[in-house]
Each structure stands twice: as C-alpha cells, then as structure tokens.
C-alpha cells in the first residue's frame, strides 16, 4: 500500500497497519487482503454480486471485523454488497468506512449496500466513516445503504460519520426490529462548498419492547444543502425517538422531515428537530476567553461534532 492509501485507511478505520482479527480490505473495486478467524468467516458472495458475506458464529465475544474500502482511481464506479450474519448471543465490533482520493477530473463513486442479519440477543457495534479528498475537480460520491434485520433481544449501535470531502451522498438506512430489540443510531455530518447530503432513516418497531433512538448532529456550511428524513413506525408496544440537531452557516440550507406513525396504542414516539446558526452568546463567551470569532466558531463546531 502506498502513503495515500495508508492515509485513507487511517481516516476511515483508524488503521495504521493490518488490523487484528478478521478483515477485508477493498481497493479500487477489488480485494486487497482478507483474513477470517476461528469465529468470523469472510467469504466471497455466492450470488455473483461483488462483495462479501461476513459470518459471525453464535456466542462469539469481543471480536472485531474491519472492512475498509479505499478508492484512489479517478472515475471508478464501485458498488459492493456486504451481508453480515451475526449469530445468537455474539458481541462484535464492525468497523467499515470508505475513503476516496480523487485527483482526476472524473466522478468517483462508491455505493456500499450492507445488510445485517442480527441473531437473537446478539450485540453489534457498527462504526462507519466516510471521507473524501482530492486535488482534481472530480467529484466524490457515496451512497451507502444499510439494512438492519434484528431478531428478538438483538442490540445494535450504529455510528456513522461523514466529515470531509464527500460532494454528494444519499444515505439510506432501513431497520426492522422484533420484540425486545434495541437500535441506537448516531449520525454526524459536516458539509461545505456545494456539497449535498441526504439522510433517509426508516425504522419499523414491530415487536413489543423494541426501541429505537436515532440522533443526527450536523453542520452545513457555505452553500451546501442537507436533507434529513427520519421515519419511525411503531407497530407494537415500543419506544421511538428521533432527533435532528443542525447548525447552519453562511448560505447553507437544511431540511428536516420527521414522520412518526403510531400503529399501536402502546407505541410512544418522539421527534425533536432544531436548526439554527451558532448562538451569538456562545461566540461571545469564547471570545471573552481570548478566541477570535473564527476560532470560537471552529471550537463550537468541533465540539458539536465530536
């Protein structure tokens, strides 16, 4: 791997070198390295589509899987299908992410379609980071789709972050939860320039005692535009909470669209949305500590997205 590829890996997966545990590294649309372990098998898909199946044995505890994607060839259009089968009672950390370095003039695009089948009482922490850079005029596009199918008592915590360099993104997340399943989603997005980011969450709380907590924090600067759609359908005795907290700057725009459907009298659903510029008194407080207005702004955004 060259220095640019190593840097992208560091950005999206905090990896300095080949990771411990199971991993699959995809570079410019092809496999770059793979390792299965005794409890986690990574295999080529059987249906002929590009991508992998990740099979975690029941009862696997405290193991991790890294599946970073690195794209350095300008103009590459890469779609990949990854399916995760998490066995009952397993407890694993999955780190995905995509880094694009586009120094050409063409559009580079990565669409990852991830499907999680999470077994009874299994626990997954899923961390996904998207990062782009480049010195050409080529656009970096990422359209991740995540499907989450949760069995009884399953738990999933998903952290998704897009901080820099992605010109256009449409992120679709769909989840179905059976009884007692819990889903927590934390999204962080920063857009600038003319970037566009759309997030579309839809969660079906089908089982009694299921719950979902979907929180998005975002900053839109310059002339960028963000759209946040979050839909929760309460189909059983369940609890759902969705929150969009956005800071707008310059001539940026943000649209938040909540949609809650309670289809059961015992469904408790809450939506919160707040969009606005940085509060003047926050800037003033940091300025009384000796920061310039710009430094104050940077600190407030850094904290907000940390």
């Amino acid at each position: 791997m060259d220095e640019i590829e190593k840097m992208l890996l560091l950005q999206v997966a905090d990896l300095h070198k080949i990771p411990e545990g199971a991993y699959n590294i995809r570079k410019d649309g092809a496999g770059e390295g793979r390792r299965s372990t005794a409890n986690i098998e990574i295999a080529e898909r059987s249906d002929g589509n590009p991508g992998i199946d990740i099979i975690v044995k029941p009862g696997t505890k405290r193991e991790s899987v890294h599946i970073p994607v690195v794209i350095t060839r300008s103009g590459l259009q890469d779609t990949v299908y990854n399916d995760f089968y998490i066995g009952e009672d397993a407890d694993v950390l999955i780190i995905a992410g995509c880094g694009i370095h586009n120094c050409g003039k063409q559009q580079s695009e990565h669409s990852g379609v991830h499907t999680f089948h999470i077994g009874r009482n299994a626990r997954v922490r899923y961390v996904e980071k998207h990062y782009g850079e480049g010195d050409g005029n080529g656009e970096n596009v990422m359209n991740p789709t995540t499907q989450i199918l949760m069995e009884e008592g399953a738990q999933m915590e998903m952290e998704t972050t897009q901080i820099k360099g992605i010109d256009s993104t449409e992120r679709v997340t769909r989840a179905e939860l059976k009884a007692g399943a819990t889903l927590v989603i934390r999204e962080k997005i920063y857009t600038h320039g003319k970037q566009f980011a759309k997030t579309d969450f839809s969660v079906d709380l089908n089982g009694d005692g299921s719950s979902a907590d979907v929180v998005s924090r975002s900053v839109a600067a310059q002339t960028s535009y963000q759209e946040f759609i979050s839909r929760i359908n309460g189909n059983g005795r369940c609890k759902g909470h969705t929150e969009c907290d956005a800071i707008i700057m310059d001539a940026a725009r943000v649209t938040a669209v909540p949609e809650l459907s309670a289809n059961n009298v015992d469904a408790e659903l809450i939506h919160e949305a707040a969009i606005g510029k940085i509060a003047g008194e926050q800037l003033l407080k940091l300025m009384t500590l000796g920061l310039s207005e710009q430094e104050a702004e940077e600190q407030i955004i850094k904290g907000f997205l940390s």
Binding site: E281, M287, T288, L289, L291, S306
Partner: protein, 246 residues
C-alpha cells in the same frame, strides 16, 4: 487599573433615546470592588461595556492607561480582562475540560484542570468529561464559569451577579469561593452583586442608581449608608427572592 471616563450608554427604543448609563466615571484599582444598586440601574450594562460586549455611546475606557474603548471583546480578553456571564452559556459537545483548556489558552493536563474545579468546590473527577450542556444545573454552571475565570488568571476579572438564579445551598458555597478568591487574587476583581455577604468582603463599594454613580468609597463608609436605605430594601428583597428559590 481600569478607568471609566464620562461613560454614557443609551439605546434607541422606537424613535426615543433611552439613557442607561449617564456620565459614569470610576477608577477601579483595588483588589475587590463590588458594584451594587437597584434592578435596572445599569450595572450589567456597565460590566458588558468593560468586557467590550457593548460599546459606550460616549466616554472612554482605559485599561492600565491604554484606551480600550474601541477594542473588540477578543482584544480586551487578550489584554487581560475576564468576564463571567450572569447566565453561563451552554455548549453541546464541549466538555468542562475543553472549556477550562480554552480559558487557560493552552492544552492543560488533567491535574491542572482538576485544580481549578476543586477551587470552585466541584469534585473534578465527576465533571471533567461532562459536556457544558443542559445536563448541568444552574449552580454547577456558575461554578464552572468561575473556574474558567480562574484558569485565565488575568489581572482584571468582572463577575456579573454570580448569585443570580442559583439556590441557597449553592449560594453558600459560592460565597466561600469568593472569600477564597479574595485571599489569592493578583490584580482586581469587580463583582456586581446584591448580596450583603459579597459586599462585606469588598474593599470598595460603588452604588449605581438611575444610570449614575450614586456613591462610592471604602466598604466601611458606603455599607452603613446603603443598609437601611431604599437601595438596601431593594437589596434585601432581592436576597429574600434569591433565598426563596430552590
């Protein structure tokens, strides 16, 4: 030493000009100076003029001989003026340690951050990683606000009604913090307060009424005048009001 020379401040309300401060001249060089006076007399405006949040309509503000009247909030802060807000500001995602580090103007170690929090009576380990957001109570925020002023360690610090909006229990602790600060201070502390216990530790007391300096002098001279006067009735009313809250 901070000096106000003939400072006036007025706002336009509709077509009408409303005078908030009228020809205020003051010299503040003592270690601990308290400004008091009835509600609406212009005390908080005075504090904001010193910090640079507001600019006088006319008159001058000198800090160690330099005319700072037209300097920004940042420039005054960098010259050594600190300002503690009456209503401390909340931040999503910024931790107590981040805020204290920003105040200190450098990355500080855990020990140093903890020492400032201990000074204001907070158990550092419980607070250092907490966000300065709505999860903190008014009393906790007030103390963190004071910790940021301690971390700055500047020659001149202004506190705008530190007792406002906190419960009686927190107030007792707050007084102890100021009593301790008085013993340690290098430079001057200017505190806007209605509280007799704060006035009691001041070297000098300034009474502002109707936008003017009504009286100023050593504590021993001024305090007897305001105790028993109408200003004091406003003051004791305010105390009862503060004590009644919890």
């Amino acid at each position: 030493m901070l000096e106000l020379q003939n400072v006036c401040f007025s706002v336009k309300n509709g077509g009408e000009e409303k005078i908030i401060l009228n020809d205020v001249s003051l010299k503040i060089g003592e270690r601990f100076v308290a400004i008091t006076g009835p509600n609406g007399s212009g005390k908080s405006t005075l504090a904001k003029l010193i910090a640079g949040i507001l600019t006088p309509t006319s008159g001058k503000i000198l800090f160690d001989g330099e005319d700072v009247t037209q300097l920004s909030v940042t420039e005054r802060a960098r010259r050594g003026i600190s300002f503690a807000f009456q209503q401390p500001v909340r931040f999503k995602g910024i931790t107590v340690k981040d805020l204290v580090s920003l105040a200190a103007g450098k990355k500080i170690g855990m020990n140093e951050a903890c020492s400032y929090l201990s000074e204001v009576g907070l158990c550092a380990r419980d607070y250092i990683d907490r966000e300065v957001d709505a999860s903190l109570s008014g009393g906790e925020l007030k103390r963190i606000e004071i910790a940021t002023i301690l971390a700055r360690g500047t020659r001149f610090s202004v506190f705008d009604e530190p007792e406002a909006g906190i419960d009686l229990w927190s107030f007792q602790n707050l007084i102890a913090v100021f009593e301790k600060m008085y013993r340690k201070v290098q430079g001057s502390i200017l505190i806007i307060s209605h509280q007799e216990r704060i006035l009691n530790i001041a070297d000098k007391i300034v009474v502002i009424a109707g936008g003017r300096v009504d009286r100023e002098g050593a504590r021993e001279e001024v305090l007897p005048h305001i105790l028993g006067s109408s200003a004091c009735r406003a003051l004791t009313d305010k105390m009862e009001e503060a004590n009644g809250r919890d």
